[in-house]
Amino acid sequence: MVTNPTSADRHGRARAIGRGVGIAALYALMLLAVLAMWKTNAPPFIYVAF
């Protein structure tokens, strides 16, 4: 049986889209911060020396 989407369904979908956009924005910001602070002469990872 096919039913029309209820208000709760629409709410759930909107919340999921909002969450997805929020996560994408957060990771975009993190990537921007990484690129802004990137140094070609950065200290090496500590454990690579072990």
Binding site: I23, Y27, M30, L31, A33, V34, M37, W38, K39, T40, A42, P43, P44, F45, I46, Y47, V48, A49, F50
Partner: protein, 392 residues
């Protein structure tokens, strides 16, 4: 610097998409070729040779059906792996100490021996040696079926995301994935990409900020107690974000190839006991030490205190050929042994109630944080720092 080099990201930008468009039967060969290119770039032919020789020997020795009741080639191969690691990583350290001992006892060492320079350790030797020992031990002691496909063993040996600094893989978990390589679904691929970004953020933005603060504190000529506390706390956060960040990049890269490698950290600074800390910190190493040193020594059954000390001493020395690493290992071994004793004689102290948990967390965090001083500074400097902490 590996994951922080432009070359690496150009390599990854070609290697990962090429893997994804590669037909399924060819993915394994591409993975091996990409790992070999990565290894060659960072280690060069001289750095690749030891791992290739040891990998061929390990692969071959594991396939020979040694009679279990006799002295076996597997044991000899494990000894060869340990000796190789000792030669490259501890040769100079052992020689330096022998020279000091000889001078103290009036014995004259040959000049060439005192001048001998150990060759540079091959990239990732501490990690691949442990993976090979684990492999041989599982085949020899637990009777697991050895890897028959040489390409599978090759990828296990030099898988590029984990080659330089782990996580230390376990072959029963990793190798079956190679038999059915296929592309990740988009959610898994993006999960891996997000993990890589998180890892880079931890390293580039947090660990390096901690390092800059450390350098400011280290320049203060008079190291008072607050300065020492700040240094210890910052070093603790720096090493955590540095290595957790590295592990995130390695695990995320593997995930973009639809491969799962072990986790290394599980919020270790939330631990409420030292035992819990070592179950959450560098988990692929601590579980290796537990399975292949602590348990074979007798584990909890006999001489528990000695086993803990010995296992943690080796854990400390694994981090480097210097006395401060040995002291750091012994420090943690002593802490674990004391905690095991306290658990036995006063179990109420470790009850799962909030006052005990809060106190346990504070003691554990303070203990681990002080330990980072031993990890990062020579013993003499730590003695001065400790004096500053005790005498305000």
């Amino acid at each position: 610097m590996l994951f922080l080099e432009t070359w690496f990201w150009l390599f990854a930008a070609l290697a990962v998409p090429a893997y994804l468009v590669c037909p399924r039967p060819l993915k394994l060969y591409w993975l091996l070729a990409a790992s070999a290119i990565f290894h060659y770039h960072f280690a060069g032919p001289a750095g690749m040779t030891p791992i290739i020789i040891l990998a061929i020997l390990t692969y071959t020795v594991a396939l020979v059906p040694w009679r279990l009741e006799r002295w076996s080639g597997v044991a000899a191969m494990i000894a060869l792996l340990v000796l190789t690691l000792t030669f490259y990583k501890y040769g100079r350290f052992l020689l330096d100490n022998a020279v000091v001992l000889a001078a103290a006892s009036g014995v004259k060492m040959p000049a060439w021996l005192a001048r001998w320079k150990s060759p540079a350790a091959p990239l990732g030797i501490s990690f691949f040696t442990f993976e090979f020992v684990h492999y041989l031990y599982e085949v020899r002691v637990h009777g697991r079926a050895p890897i028959r496909n040489p390409f599978h063993f090759g990828v296990f040996a030099i898988f590029f995301p984990t080659l330089a600094a782990g996580p230390i893989k376990r072959f029963p978990d990793f190798v079956p994935q190679l038999a059915a390589l296929h592309n990740p679904d988009p959610a898994r691929w993006f999960g891996g990409a997000r993990r890589i970004i998180r890892g880079l953020f931890k390293k580039v933005c947090i660990a390096e900020l901690c390092l800059e603060c450390i350098q400011v504190f280290e320049k203060i000529p008079h190291r008072s107690a607050p300065v020492v506390v700040a240094l210890a706390v910052l070093q603790g956060w720096r090493i955590y974000f540095d290595f957790d960040g590295y592990s995130d990049v390695a695990i995320g890269l593997a995930q973009t190839l639809n491969l799962t490698v072990p986790e290394n950290f599980n919020r270790p600074y939330w631990s409420t006991s030292l035992q819990e800390f070592w179950r959450r910190w560098h988990m692929s190493l601590s579980s290796w030490i537990r399975d292949y040193i602590y348990i074979p020594l007798g584990g909890n059954r006999v001489r528990r205190g000695f086993n803990l000390l010995a296992a943690m001493l080796l854990c400390g020395l694994w981090h480097g050929a210097a006395w401060n690493f040995a002291a750091w290992g012994m420090y943690h071994g002593t802490g674990l042994a004391l905690e095991a004793g306290a658990r036995r004689w006063a179990p109420d102290l470790f009850a799962d109630r909030w006052p005990q948990r809060v106190a346990g967390w504070a003691i554990c965090y303070a203990f681990v944080t002080y330990g980072w001083l031993l990890f990062f500074y020579p013993i003499g400097t730590v003695a001065q720092m400790t004096r500053a902490l005790v005498v305000w």
